[in-house]
Structure formats: C-alpha cells, structure tokens
Assembly symmetry: C2
Homo-oligomer: 246 residues x 2
DNA sequence: GCCCCTAATTGATCTGGATCAAGGTACATC
DNA sequence: GATGTACCTTGATCCAGATCAATTAGGGGC
C-alpha cells in the first residue's frame, strides 16, 4: 500500500476535479474523457472529494466503504453517512460537493459523468425510480441516526453502531452464520467517534465495557464476535421488534 | 379551539386508520372514500399518525407545521424532521409509518390515496422527478442536522435552530424585511429540546443567555426579533459562507 | 528477531448539560 | 377579579462524557 499522492492541483485526465490526484490519474487514460461510465479506485484513507469541490460525476460504490463527513472551522467533525457497496454518491443537479467524501477501506467506484447521467434520468424512468428508492432509504437511515445522536447514551450508541454494521455485513455475505456473527470492524476508534458524536476515548472505554460484560468478544482490535445478537440489541435501547414494524 | 377527540378506534370514514379519530372524521364525508386527492385539517397539538399505524396515503403540507418524532420505550424522544408548507409526508411503497407525526400548529394536508398515487408516479415522469428533488433536499437537511446533534454545543444548537426558522420564515413571506427579521417561534421549549437533543431547561437557559447578550430580542415568549443576522450566524459555529457553497 | 509508528487503552480530573426543585407568567374560563 | 393550567424561567446539585496525560498494544518493514 503506497501512500496516495497529494498535490492539490486539478486532475486533467478524468472528469473529476479534485485537490488530491489519485494514483490512477497519474497515468492518463483517455477513455475516461469519452465514456459516460468508468471506474475509479482509491486506497484506504484517501480523500475522494472535498467539501466545496466541483463535482462532475455521480457514482455507485462497487467494493469497499466510503464515509461522508462534515467539518467545522475549529476541527470538530461529524460523519453523516457511510456508503457501502451499491450505495449512491452525489446528486443530480448539484455541481458543488457539500461535504467531504473519504475512502475508509480500499474502494472502487463506478462513476457516471453528471450531465449524461441527468439526461439518462430524464429518459429512463426505472433509473429515476430506483434512485428515488435509494434516496428514501438513505433518508430513513439518516433519521434513525438522528435519534442515536440526539438521545442515546455512549453505550447505546456503540451498541447501535455494532448492530448496524453486523446487520449489513450479514446482508452482504448472504451466507448467514447460524448463530452469533463475526465481522471485521471497518472503522478506527476515531472514525466511530466521529460517527457517534463522541470522543475516541469514550468509544474505547465503552467497547472495553461491552467486552467486560460479555456482550461482544474481541479478537485483536478489529475483529468482533457477537455471541448473542439479542443481547446486543437490548443494549441499543431500541424496541426489540423495531425490525418488524419498519 | 375545542380539544381533539381520542378514542383509539379505527376511523371508518377516511382512508386513514389511526388511533385518534379527528374532529373531521366524526362527521362522515363520503367523498373521502371516492377521490384520489382530498384535504384534511388538524388542530395544533393533534396527533396525525402514530408509529406503527397503517398508512394508506401520502400528503403534502398546505398550511401549518407538522413534526416527525421518534420515541424510545423509556420516553426519550427525538424530533427527526419539521414539515413546512410544500413539504412531503409519507413514502410510496410503505404501508407502516415508522415514526409519529404531530400537528405543531393548526395544519392542513393535501392527501393522496397511496395506491393511485403510486400509479401516478409510474406514469407521470415529472411527478417522480419532483419527489426525488424534494427527498434529496430532505436528506441534505437531515445530514446537516446530524452535525448539529452530534457536535454542537447547546448555545450553537439554539442559534442553528433560530437561524433555520428565520431563514424559512423569510422564504415563506417573500416580502423580505430589509434589515433584521422578526418571527413567531412555532415551537414550545420542549419541542425545541426534542429537536436539538437537549432538555427544556437547557433550551430556556440558552435562550435567556442569547437574549442577555443581545443576539436576539424577545417579545413575550414566542416572538423573536433578530437585530443582526450575521451575529446569529456567528453563534451557530457554521462557516459564514456556508450558504454560498451549498 | 527488532524498530518504528500509528491505533488503542487506561487513569485522573474537569465541566457542560442533565436532573431535581421551586417559582413566575400569560391566557382562558368562570 | 379569582382560579386554573400549561408553559416558561431560574437556582442548586450531580454525573456522563470530555479533556488532559501517560502507557501499551499491533503490525509492517527490515
């Protein structure tokens, strides 16, 4: 994993204008300029878009995880979304990115140049229908997260995050493990803190507490095993039947 | 203003099945059963939908304000959205409401029965386009609010809420007052607390502090005058040019 | 193996906002 | 005017989580 190259100049070889020039763009690939659809890869930790950047494409996550974050002038930052495979990035009709996008893990995006994509939306009904569905899902997720941020205790926040990640992981590898579940935590303690509106010390302490109480079992820092999923749900403060009603 | 009638039975006279029977429904109006589109009015404080209710319509706010709230088993509640005139309520394809909807002020909705509305979406492209736009706007608002909930201090939260309400009010009564702005606060201290993830005591104290510091001027409890809008913005912790970039 | 560097834990202390507890105020009803 | 009542303010105290400050793993690269 060689570090990404940052030089804060515009990229002349792909339709993305960004401060960081990605490894792929260092070797011009002219087809990027021609086709509506193309792929781009990023390394873990690499910035994809900065808030305020010109944004000439929309994209869909193919593999990996990206984060959306907002940062205040004094450095306080809040993660406002996690993009997993099949999630959508960008907004038709918007030219300026309203928040930072960063590759959390190694990441591949399937990009569409914005203008042609907007034309596609106008002409192909099922594409815009699908996009509406996805946007509504994201809105639901954002609203659910507002409850987490506004009203839950630190312990409940950690439990909520773990249960969401566990559920998504289980969903991705469709092979459901029969009981319990084990997965790699894709986020650092600091990233978790930024997602939950906590400090990294509090995140660490609460994870230790959940481990001490037997709710989770850690293997190293990043591998989590959940012996009893219902036990974890009970810690989130959510209604146990929440899944049924929604 | 006579109080609404609550009797926790299904309403047989309109397509809404809810625990509280509204004043309008006490007198059957059969046309509700016939037409795709119809109007409904609610009094301030009246519940419109409870989480878990069957939801056979979608709607658009005509006049007044409605709130979306989530409540935990132990009573902690978080407001996750405010619906103002022209905002959309409900979701095509969803039959069960995922959160409570309440009339904050006197309210009139323009309702559409869900099934025919979904058919309309399939056939009329610009309607689904418009709905996508609105949903994306709401998603942006929700994400902006996540920063408020996760990272801002109590004082910054209050300032953020006031500036948002002031901006929307100014937008509604297109007649821009040349300097400063004056508006009615549509929310109780408790509702503000639920929106901001605070207690009502903290809300009250911070409003008093902003008043003491001359950032806002109160006339009674509900009328707010903002002598210098930039001063208020400075208190939100946001970038002053945030409006330009977004 | 050893070194280096980043990520994570853990402890001690501080503080912003919650909690508990009185009062005060604006309105509506009689 | 008196009485209610819902809403709001203000004070005293407490505590969950922030902040400050060391250590202690992990995990490459050599």
């Amino acid at each position: 994993m060689k570090p990404p190259v940052f030089n804060n100049r515009e990229c002349g070889t792909c339709p993305i204008r960004h401060r960081a020039v990605c490894a792929r763009c260092e070797e011009p690939e002219l087809e990027y300029l021609e086709s509506i659809k193309y792929y781009r890869s990023y390394e873990a930790g690499q910035p994809i878009i900065w808030s305020g950047d010109q944004l000439d494409f929309v994209a869909s996550v193919v593999v990996g995880i990206a984060s959306l974050t907002q940062t205040m002038e004094d450095g306080r930052t809040q993660m406002i979304g996690l993009l997993l495979p099949s999630d959508f990035l960008g907004r038709p009709g918007r030219e300026i990115a309203p928040y930072d996008v960063t590759a959390v893990s190694n990441l591949t995006l399937c990009c569409f140049r914005r203008k042609p994509f907007e034309k596609l939306l106008d002409t192909t009904h099922h594409v815009s229908q699908r996009l509406l569905e996805m946007t509504l899902d994201e809105l639901d997720a954002a609203r659910e997260w507002m409850l987490v941020l506004g009203r839950k205790t630190a312990r409940e926040k950690i439990a909520s995050l773990l249960s969401i990640i566990a559920r998504r992981e289980a969903h991705l590898n469709m092979a459901r493990s029969p009981d319990g579940s084990k997965f790699d935590l894709p986020l650092t303690r600091e990233a978790m803190a930024n997602y939950l509106g906590l400090t990294l010390e509090t995140v660490s302490r609460q994870i230790s507490a959940l481990k001490r109480d037997g709710v989770i079992i850690l293997e190293g820092n990043r591998k989590v095993f959940i012996p009893d999923f219902n036990r974890l749900i009970a810690e989130t403060g959510d209604d146990a039947d929440g899944g049924l009603l929604t």
